[in-house]
Amino acid sequence: MSFMKLTASTLAISALAATAAQARDNIQIAGSSTVLPYASIVAEAFGENFEFPTPVVESGGSGAGRKKLCEGVGENTIDIANSSSRIKQSDIDNCAANGVTEIQEVRIGYDGIVFASDIDGPAFAFTPADWHAALAAKIVVDGALVDNPNKMWSDVRADLPEQEILAFIPGTKHGTREVFDENVLIAGCEENGTMAAHEAAGAEDAEDACMQVRTDGVSIDIDGDYTETLARVDANPNGFGVFGLSFYQNNTDKLQVATMGGVAPSTETIATGEYPVSRPLFFYVKNAHLDVIPGMQEYVEFFVSDEMAGPDGPLAAYGLVSDPELAKTQEAVANRTPMGPLN
């Protein structure tokens, strides 16, 4: 037998196969790992109830998903990008440069961010100011900006339990971190007057100074996902983890959740806006693919339909806070309204 012949023929076959890649009939989705569970629930139900194949949902992060969406138009690019933060102008520019001009922005609902600790520990009632005072690199003590000296939660505020401060917060590549920075650290910074102190001290960007967390091992960035945070909290009963509401709801036997500003997180309190730490979840649709990929329009409409994304649907049962303005989204999706410029 001749290996040369065999090699030549396999090469020929693979080259032939490469040119004969057939039209894609499944929807390709990529992006945020926070949106992934919701997208896979919808994809599964879509595959079951429609004559179209189940969409393929990749994770990899909001930014990576939007970048893939903007790679261009064509069957070897993705159709929909899931995102746990809003698209950025740089993404839109990148899209436009690659010929992706019409993008639909679809808001699917809201996600709550909760602060949870070991179920056997004491209960906590926080305010954003507490978290800033516990984790910020610099805080105000006796009118002066100093390196954060707080060791115990009771140092932060006398009526908090006497427990060592230890927090597992999402790493900077997570969309969750942005919300944490914005709604907890910066809000807390303003609340306890550190922001004013930073400004008085002539900081160039007071908000940026507020977002700096201490580096003495009290605040630990978790670059993995919530399962890693849970494992860390399991190993350190003093530790607090930052989780998504749906993740907490699946692990209520191991975690207890702290109130924030006197409000316990739940789909109701987040929907009404009482609970302060939440964010909208999106997906972005490449309109140029809508008539090319079979079932894509149906998938998008099915995702935001009342039976999926409504307050009694499976997504809400899993922890998504349904959007009060869902009807508007449904209408926009039916009309394929592309998003306007960012405001």
């Binding site: 290996f3 629930i41 994809a43 189940t54 393929v56 990749e58 070897n76 692990n251 039976e307």
Partner: protein, 455 residues
């Protein structure tokens, strides 16, 4: 010579010609040497013991959390396929019937479950109807809907089904969920677990071997009990097929040429260094390469086993080339010289004599390379194979272009899910992957034992 036996001299005392010291009376230097040897042996034993302990620990933790995924809790129910709900027109038109979504099937199944409980005579004390319904897997409506759509004439009949129990109920029978944890768990109540106990005694609920774990596709976060490895196993099999078909002939051809025909010069030295280098390149680099060449340039589809296979081929090639060259080298030159001496051509020498003798080594190297490729996740991350895929790919060769997952990818995906039931699934998937790897490595050892010739 330190532990020479007692038989050196007739009188039992041996003397050397120089110092006249006895070999049996151990002197200081000998003692030192003996001690250092004993120390080394001890260290060696400790090293082995640490290795074995680590392996046992790893296996024990994986087996203890993963073996339960091979058993699954099922509920036997009979469902009346109500024509008033499923076929309002009454004309048994499949297109019409397929408009009824899984949401429409849910009440029928819940009714069937209630009837099954009634028939078994189990009491429903202290539990609401809603809680009873929650004990069923969310997969059940899809199962019944597919059954109806497969043959619409069954509408109007009462059909028996074996549906999955919910993930928490299943976890209870496997010890993952306890009465205490159920108190605090918002997804299950102790009343449900007590009912599950009674139903199991009555024979409505049963735990049996979980074939679906090997055949079913992945499932979403709300139904861990339905998640299986079907798509991942097919995807991995396709990729291994591609890797084998491409890398074995390419690798063997390259090494035969380099080893037997190519002149020894700077250029071939450079190639050799590069091949050794490639074998040590982090696998994610091949993923980046695959994304750039196969997807962006060649236009192959995302998430497809063909791209995964090509990327893993690139990764496996150096391993195979190095193993093949080593086994070609180990064939003694006398074989080649004898063949050339009786008038064989260079090519006849290689293909009739050298290659058959090197074959066991080549196959061993190939299998080890394949095993390495089977466990690889990083390069697949970039080419879109780390994904939620539920559709089975078609048969080969078209199936090579359909989206699929892979075994290690499935492990990675499951460890990221919120529901703790997926931890069990992930460990189960690791066991399956380990079994494949053990089988491949045993095959490599057997091939070597059987066919290898020592010179």
């Amino acid at each position: 010579m330190t532990d020479m036996p007692h038989s050196n001299g007739a009188d039992g005392i041996a003397r050397d010609s120089h110092g006249g010291k006895s070999l049996l009376a151990v002197d200081a230097r000998t003692r030192k040497r003996n001690a250092s040897e004993a120390r080394f042996r001890l260290l060696g034993k400790i090293a082995v013991a640490i290795g074995v302990l680590a392996l046992v620990g790893l296996l024990a933790s994986i087996l203890s959390s993963g073996l339960s995924s091979f058993r699954q809790t099922y509920i036997d129910i009979e469902v009346y396929l109500d024509p008033a709900k499923l076929d309002k027109e009454g004309n048994r038109d499949r297109a019409q019937i397929s408009k009824v979504s899984t949401f429409g099937y849910k009440p029928l199944i819940e009714q069937g479950f209630m009837e099954a409980i009634e028939k078994s005579g189990v009491s429903l004390d202290g539990i609401s109807e809603k809680e009873v319904a929650e004990m069923l897997s969310k997969e059940a409506p899809a199962q019944v809907r597919n059954f109806v759509l497969a043959d619409v004439e069954r509408i109007g009949q009462t059909a028996p089904f074996e549906v999955l129990a919910g993930g928490r109920i299943d976890g209870y029978f496997k010890g993952r969920v306890t009465m205490e944890s159920a108190e605090r768990d918002r997804n299950v109540s102790p009343a449900q677990l007590e009912l599950a106990d009674r139903l199991r005694e009555a024979g409505v609920v049963k735990v049996r071997f979980n074939w679906d774990f090997f055949t079913a596709p992945d499932a979403s976060d709300t139904r861990p009990e339905a998640a299986g490895l079907g798509v991942a196993i097919i995807g991995s099999a396709y990729m291994m097929l591609i890797v084998l078909v491409l890398s074995l002939p390419l690798g063997v051809a390259a090494s035969i040429y380099l080893e037997e025909f190519a002149p020894q010069n700077r250029f071939t030295d450079l190639i050799e260094v590069n091949i050794s280098n490639l074998a040590a390149v982090p696998s994610i680099v091949f993923g980046i390469l695959g994304l750039a060449i196969f997807i962006n340039f060649a236009g192959l589809p995302q998430s497809a086993p063909v791209v995964g296979g090509l990327v893993l081929t690139l990764m496996t090639l150096p391993t195979i080339i190095i193993a093949t060259r080593a086994s070609l080298k180990s064939v003694p030159p006398s074989i080649r010289e004898a063949a050339l001496g009786v008038g064989a051509s260079k090519m006849q020498t290689v293909f009739h004599h050298v290659l058959p003798l090197a074959m066991p080594g080549i196959l061993t190297g190939t299998i080890i390379g394949l095993a390495q490729a089977l466990g690889e996740t990083a390069p697949l991350l970039l080419i879109g194979m780390v994904a939620f895929v539920r559709e089975y790919p078609a048969g080969p060769p078209e199936g090579f272009f359909d989206p699929a997952a892979a075994l290690p990818v499935q492990v990675y995906n499951w460890t990221q899910r919120g529901d703790p039931a997926f931890v069990e699934r992930a460990s189960g998937a690791i066991i399956v992957l380990l079994v494949f790897l053990v089988v491949m490595n045993i095959a490599a050892i057997l091939l070597r034992r059987r066919f290898e010739r020592r010179w």
